[in-house]
């Protein structure tokens, strides 16, 4: 991804003095859960650009903050990290941007470090590594109010003196301390950190030797070479993480030599280094932080909540209740905006029809472009509500508890608790589910979760299930118990499939170390509704941009396939469909799907479903010439389906065929939006293609078995 970077050698100005012509670039770094996004939003407001780092699916956020005098300052919000020794793609991006290893992002001039004041020791570990980088640093002590409330008093002036950098106490959530922070950020004379810690004796010569070699052979800036040398020693993995520059032979040789020597002496050099950093931090904290011991021992609010939320009985009820609420709101709340969008798409389509002469161009715009875009936008309300819920659960701290509770169950299929929410979200729509997998650190676990997420029966399958259940059961009224029973069966089948395949993939294709469940459980906090809203809008926009273009293209292709070649003048819509490329494709497909009990007309529906599953219902309407007239009522279509026959006169939609079709829809990958998102999230066509293959293959085999065994049994 990145290449050796000539950087600061040629830089005409020292890093502490950005030129007047260019706005200074700040990197905002901190541990997860320390209020970093809140501070970023507070500093930059809505002046943010959200994108991706090329080559990895890590969100890149850049915003502009203004000093008290109105000067612009650029702020890059780097992913939360516990250490510069990266363990996840997110942390690797943070490390690589800070070290100037990424070609796509300029090395920041200055670093804004934010820490959670209630948890100073662990938060200072990252700060301690960053102080070594040789860049000006401003330290923000966030959540000072919470620190005071738990009886912590931090001597800010003393900390400033010890580290030699500005230290700004702050409450980002309430906007306190922002003016002081902006004043510090607009200083032209930010000092370099003064803090020096003692590298343990046996390791110090290795650090100096590596540092010299990094400067000479790897063209590293002298100031950051020490940090790089220390990183090489603490993190054996960092050399191999994607995106990092390969080391020169000389440096590698020196590193190997020292490691060999230490190994012979039986010394764990990495542990020694980490321990000596923590020693330095502990000494610092002992002088700086006063504890009001009386307030520490009581049971905290968070513990009281956790007593219920992680309780062996209440815990499950709370989890079930929250999930029920989530689905209730998706299916009820989303209905209003969805109907609104539906109406507006329809009236836009009518408007175009009324104002343009009839012809192919008009049909392309209405049936291809508008219908295609409409098909994407219609999902937006559900997706936004899901993102909002996920954001609220994250912001309050409940998300970590859900993962904590579910980990044991998820571990049975080789995943960890963090896969739970993405999979659950996929019941509504696989897209937000797949986008939510970004919280899973392990890349293999993340990939497995992405691969199986579309097996969870999403809301777009509902119309198909409903139509088939209606066609399955003869008579006017479908008994509720049958409806619910069949529906539950389909959901169970999809869920079972998802877990089964996760288990299989973890054992074969994506074999890895057993997943870890090392996760911080942050204290419960009131949700930051503003941050959650901002994130929801960002993600929604991201979905529209990512999926929109691909879907528009495919919708136009599908329109073309069902419109050409043109049937002779006066043909019905049914005849047009039968003679079109799509109709011919249906015929071509028939030999493949006949063993499942489907004819070429159903084949057209399967092809059209590739745009989105619920398109099946509308396509069946056209194919069997039932005019439902924009009605929710499936009765006319049901009657049309009941009248459908094979050429030999036998009934097409027998109960067995309806079941076979439902099972096909449970497993088949038929959603371009999902394919588009998987393509973006995995950065290759390989995985979405694999997904189409394995899911549709499973669908075919299951439907085949069902239909053939059913036929043999005489159904």
């Amino acid at each position: 991804m990145s290449s050796p970077q000539p950087s600061s050698f040629s830089s005409p100005t020292p890093p502490s003095l950005p030129t007047a012509a260019r706005a200074p670039v700040y990197a905002l770094v901190g541990n997860p859960n320390c209020g970093k996004s809140t501070l970023f939003n507070a500093l930059t407001g809505l002046k943010q650009k959200v994108g991706n780092y090329p080559g990895v699916t890590v969100e890149k956020k850049v915003g502009t903050a203004y000093s008290q005098h109105g000067h612009a300052m650029q702020v890059i919000d780097l992913p939360g990290a516990y250490s510069l020794a990266a363990r996840s793609p997110d942390e690797a991006v943070t490390r690589d941007v800070l070290l100037g290893r990424r070609m796509d992002t300029a090395q920041p001039d200055r670093i804004l470090c934010i820490v959670d004041s209630t948890n100073l020791e662990r938060n200072l570990y990252l700060v301690h590594q960053i102080l070594d980088l040789g860049r000006p640093v401003i330290l923000v002590l966030n959540m000072m109010d919470l620190a005071t409330s738990v009886g912590l008093r931090i001597r800010v002036a003393r900390l400033e003196k010890e580290l030699g950098i500005p230290v700004i106490p702050c409450e980002a959530a309430h906007g306190k301390g922002l003016i002081e922070l902006k004043l510090a950020m607009s200083r032209t004379d930010l000092p370099l950190p003064r803090h020096r810690w003692d590298i343990p004796g046996p390791i110090a010569p290795a650090v100096s030797e590596l540092q010299a070699s990094l400067v000479e052979s790897d063209r590293k800036a002298p100031l950051s070479a020490r940090a790089e040398a220390l990183l090489l020693l603490t993190d054996q993995d960092s050399v191999r993480v994607a995106g990092s520059t390969p080391l020169s032979e000389r440096t590698t040789e020196i590193l190997r030599g020292w490691q060999k020597r230490w190994q012979e002496q039986g010394m764990d050099w990495a542990a020694t280094l980490v321990a000596s950093r923590y020693d330095a931090i502990s000494r610092l904290c002992a002088e700086l932080v006063e504890r009001d011991s009386g307030m520490r021992d009581g049971i905290s609010q968070s513990d009281r909540i956790d007593g219920v939320v992680t309780h062996p009985v209440w815990g499950w009820l709370v989890l079930g209740g929250i999930m029920a609420l989530l689905f209730l709101s998706i299916f009820t709340l989303a209905e209003y905006p969805m109907n609104w969008i539906d109406d507006h798409i329809a009236s836009l389509s009518d408007f175009v029809k009324g104002s343009m002469p009839a012809g192919d161009l008009r049909d392309l715009i209405t049936d291809g472009a508008i219908a295609g875009v409409g098909g994407v936008v219609i999902f937006l309300p559900q997706i936004m509500i899901l993102f909002f819920f996920i954001g609220m659960l994250e912001s309050t701290g409940y998300m970590a508890r859900a993962a904590f509770i579910m980990d044991r169950l998820m571990s049975r299929v080789g995943l960890n608790g963090k896969s739970f929410i993405p999979l659950l979200s996929s019941y509504a729509c696989a897209i937000p589910g797949i986008m939510a997998t970004r919280t899973i650190e392990d890349s293999k676990d993340r990939l497995v979760t992405i691969l199986v997420a579309p097996l969870m029966s999403c809301s777009a399958r509902l119309p198909v299930y409903l139509l088939m259940i209606a066609a399955l059961v003869p008579g006017e009224q479908v008994p509720v118990t049958t409806k619910v029973g069949l529906m539950l069966l389909m959901y169970a089948l999809g869920t079972g499939g998802a877990f089964g395949f996760a288990w299989l993939f973890k054992r074969t294709l994506l074999k890895g170390e057993p997943p870890l469940m090392i996760m911080e459980l942050p204290p419960y906090r009131l949700p930051k509704v503003r941050d959650v809203f901002l994130q929801m809008i960002e993600r929604g926009g991201l979905f529209l941009r990512r999926a929109g273009t691909i879907i528009l293209g495919i919708s136009i292709v599908l329109w073309f396939l069902s419109t050409y070649p043109k049937a002779p003048e006066g043909a019905t819509a049914q005849e047009q469909m039968a003679g079109s490329f799509a109709g011919r494709a249906g015929h071509l497909l028939e030999p493949v799907i006949k063993p499942l009990g489907f004819d070429w007309q159903i084949g057209i529906g399967l092809i059209a479903s590739f745009a989105a599953r619920e398109v099946f219902v509308a396509t069946m309407g056209v194919v069997f010439n039932a005019q439902a007239e924009d009605d929710e009522d499936t009765a006319p279509l049901r009657e049309a389906l009941a009248g459908a026959r094979w050429p030999d006169g036998s009934v097409l939609f027998t109960p067995l065929v309806c079941l076979s079709l439902m099972v096909f829809y449970v497993f088949a990958m038929q959603c371009i939006s999902t394919i588009a998102i998987v393509r973006r999230e995995t950065n290759s066509w390989r995985w979405p293609l694999f997904q189409i293959g394995y899911m549709t293959g499973t669908a075919w085999i299951c439907s085949l078995l069902l239909y053939q065994v059913g036929t043999l049994l005489g159904y």
Binding site: E121, A271, V274, A275, R408, L409, M519, L521
Partner: protein, 80 residues
């Protein structure tokens, strides 16, 4: 020297001092950087409803850990 036991056998609510764990393995590299180094005081706060994972308090914050990793971590239980 005090007797050591695996962290997985520590009672809920008990405190212990971290003694040692393997030098290799992704889990332990991460734990080290999150402040779990020999000598650190930790408390086993609770277990998840199904007995796994464990919730541990270390340096004033809470961390989850699977039982399988906790088995490899030796601790010296502190007298209550």
């Amino acid at each position: 020297m005090a007797q050591t036991i695996p962290l997985s056998t520590l009672g809920v609510g008990c405190k212990a001092r971290l003694h040692s764990y393997p030098a290799a393995g992704a889990a332990f590299l991460r734990l080290r950087e999150m402040g779990m180094i020999p000598g650190t005081l930790l408390t086993l706060v609770r277990t998840a409803p199904m007995g796994d994972p464990l919730e541990i308090e270390v340096r004033g914050y809470r961390l989850t850990l699977r039982r399988s990793e906790a088995e490899a971590i030796a601790v010296e239980p502190s007298p209550q």
